[in-house]
Amino acid sequence: MELDYPIKKIIDDKGFIIDSTYEKQIDEKLVKEFYFNMMRIRTFDRKAINLQRQGRLGTYAPFEGQEASQVGSALALGPNDWIFPTYRDHGATLTYGADMVRALLYWNGRVEGCVPPEGKNIFPPAVPIATQLPHATGAAWAEKRKGTKNATIAYFGDGATSEGDFHEGLNFASVFKVPVVFFNQNNGYAISLPIEKQMNSATIAQKSVAYDMPGIRIDGNDCFIVYFETKKAFDYARSGNGPTLIEAVTWRTGAHTTADDPSKYRPNEQGMNIVDPLSRLEMFMKNYGYWDEKWIKEVKKKINNEIEAAVEGMEQFPPPVVDDIFDHVYAVMPAHLAEQKESYLTHLRGKAK
């Protein structure tokens, strides 16, 4: 089965083009867009880990190693599409236009971090595994019924394919032929469980056969193949053909979360032969004359400034308002809840005296 789903890639580990299918569509603008966004979210990710270590952020889920998958796929979205991320996909949501201050707030235990910018269909990250797949199907179904050309993307990891909701999301999407892209980031491990203990099938892509939808397996560390294949899946969806399952084979460089220690379950050298997606893009840029030291310097400066400002924005964000825990449970607050709120606020006011 593995032979039926070879890992497609456009550039090899040394950054040379090996598949010319999309070569003409690769231009300076696109290359710089990839670089900027991947560098931006990597810097963000590393900063977030540091902030967590300093006690300025709560537990955090790093995505280093998955930048090509997240940036490549998010850039393939149209302005009115929907994105249903997990807790490891803030690289994708930031690329799609999520607010960086709020991304940090989310990891600092602030519900404000779930609120997307106006007009951006970015769903709060799914914390249970695979439950967002049916949501993406439903939202895509709604777009189809409204007669738009909008589509949805659901992000999920390799472990998610073992959950019933994976089957349910794909099955409904296939039965009702809705415009959704199921974007799997196979990063090797679901916390500590390696993929070969997760499933007996050689690939995730082959699971598409059961739903009679296209299934493709791509190199998740090659931003070009991720971008073009996701775009193709979106075009396919927008044309009324229904869903696609994409397996982006990648590698989670670090821990599952900052509360996890990967050395307990996998040797450090495992994954060392995997070429980092950002290094690979750098090699490509040098190979094909896109490398521009001055521009790189400017970009890094711009990114650092943005992230510093976002950290400041998070730390200076107005303190949480207790009312919020009561105010968003229902559209109209039930009487008993209003009583609980009033009583507790009165208690707090008494304490403040």
């Binding site: 779930c114 769903f123 019924r145």
Partner: protein, 339 residues
């Protein structure tokens, strides 16, 4: 002397005799006609009209993309409906039996109930989940559960439980118009057990309000769903002992109408709660707490609970032993009256 007060919010409404299942069907038909965001989803609800015929004729009239036969998949139905609801539709989901809802429990607990909270009201899930529930119709195992407490415990959803055709239609339409998710528990025992005059047009019964279905002075019986009829029968028998029972049909299980509880108990000074759900952790405990909070000094006796036992609902050859009967309720009434 049961009084079913018609509280139609449309005056001079023409009415028609309907069973509860007809009233539910009528409520969905009206909303499918009125609001094109309404979409009905479930297993066997299209051509087959649902296992209880609640959706009979609706697919024929509104088409198979508004009345949708789904794959057999409770989590898939609820999960997909979440996506539809956050993206502008008003899904009404039929789960064939409450006992079959557990595969979707995760979706309900982790998403339906808290998307509004998690997104600070940016995303909302205005969906309705209809689930037939309860024992007493000789159904196979797992079909007879009364586990409403699993849902009343979770903030973010509302739970209603009509016992009459009038309330079933009015509460269902209210649920379909509610900006928040509502679980509608439909007691299967009452689906066809009686008919009453139901307005033909649109009306709502307010979610969160109970109803006095029988006025009395000595003891308040608190019930919902099929247990309202059991309480009524017990009340008839109590008359022979000179005991006057007031009966509250709670109608909404979350949020509970605390005013009706306190007003009635303060008048009668005694209370018996009747529910077919298991005793431990049952909703009766919350009702006792509410009465303690609001009316403790009026009470002349500890509040009594007549409930299902703490056993899985038995196979139907024994289910009558599980369910509260008028005789068991009467015993409870005697206990609080002669305390």
């Amino acid at each position: 002397m049961t009084t079913h007060l018609i509280e139609s919010n449309e005056k001079n409404e023409t009415t028609k005799q309907m069973t509860m299942i007809q009233a539910i069907n009528d409520g969905m038909r009206i909303m499918l006609e009125e609001d094109n965001r309404t979409i009905i989803l479930g297993e066997d609800i299209g051509k087959n009209g649902g296992v209880f015929r609640a959706t009979e004729g609706l697919q024929e009239k509104f088409g198979n993309d508004r009345v949708v036969d789904t794959p057999l998949s409770e989590a898939g139905i609820i999960g997909t409906s979440i996506g539809l609801a956050v993206n502008g539709f008003r899904p009404v989901v039929e789960i064939q039996f409450l006992g079959f809802i557990y595969p979707a429990y995760e979706q309900i607990m982790t998403h339906v109930s808290r998307i509004r909270t998690r997104s600070m009201s940016h995303f909302t899930v205005p969906m309705v989940i209809r689930a037939p529930y309860g024992a007493g119709i000789r159904a196979p195992e797992i079909h007879s559960d009364s586990t409403e407490i699993l849902f009343t415990h979770m903030p973010g959803i509302k739970v209603v439980c009509p016992s009459s055709p009038y309330d079933a239609k009015g509460l269902l339409i209210a649920a379909m118009e509610d900006p928040d998710p509502v679980l509608v528990l439909e007691t299967m025992r009452n689906y066809r057990s009686k008919r009453e005059e139901v307005p033909v047009g649109k009306y709502t019964v307010e979610i969160g309000k109970g109803k006095i279905v029988r006025e009395g002075t000595d003891v308040t019986l608190i019930a919902w769903g099929a247990m309202v009829t059991i309480a009524e029968k017990a009340a008839e028998q109590a008359v022979q002992q000179g005991i006057s029972c007031e009966i509250i049909d709670l109608r909404t299980l979350y949020p509970i109408d605390r005013d009706i509880l306190s007003q009635s108990v303060q008048k009668t000074t005694r209370a018996v709660i009747v529910h077919e759900a298991h005793n431990t952790g049952g909703l009766g405990n919350d009702i006792i707490s509410i009465i303690n909070d609001t009316s403790f000094l009026y009470l002349r006796a500890p509040i009594e609970r007549v409930t299902g036992f703490d056993v899985p609902v038995p196979f139907f050859s024994l289910e009558e032993h599980y369910l509260p009967t008028p005789a068991r309720v009467l015993k409870g009434i005697e206990k609080v009256v002669h305390f």
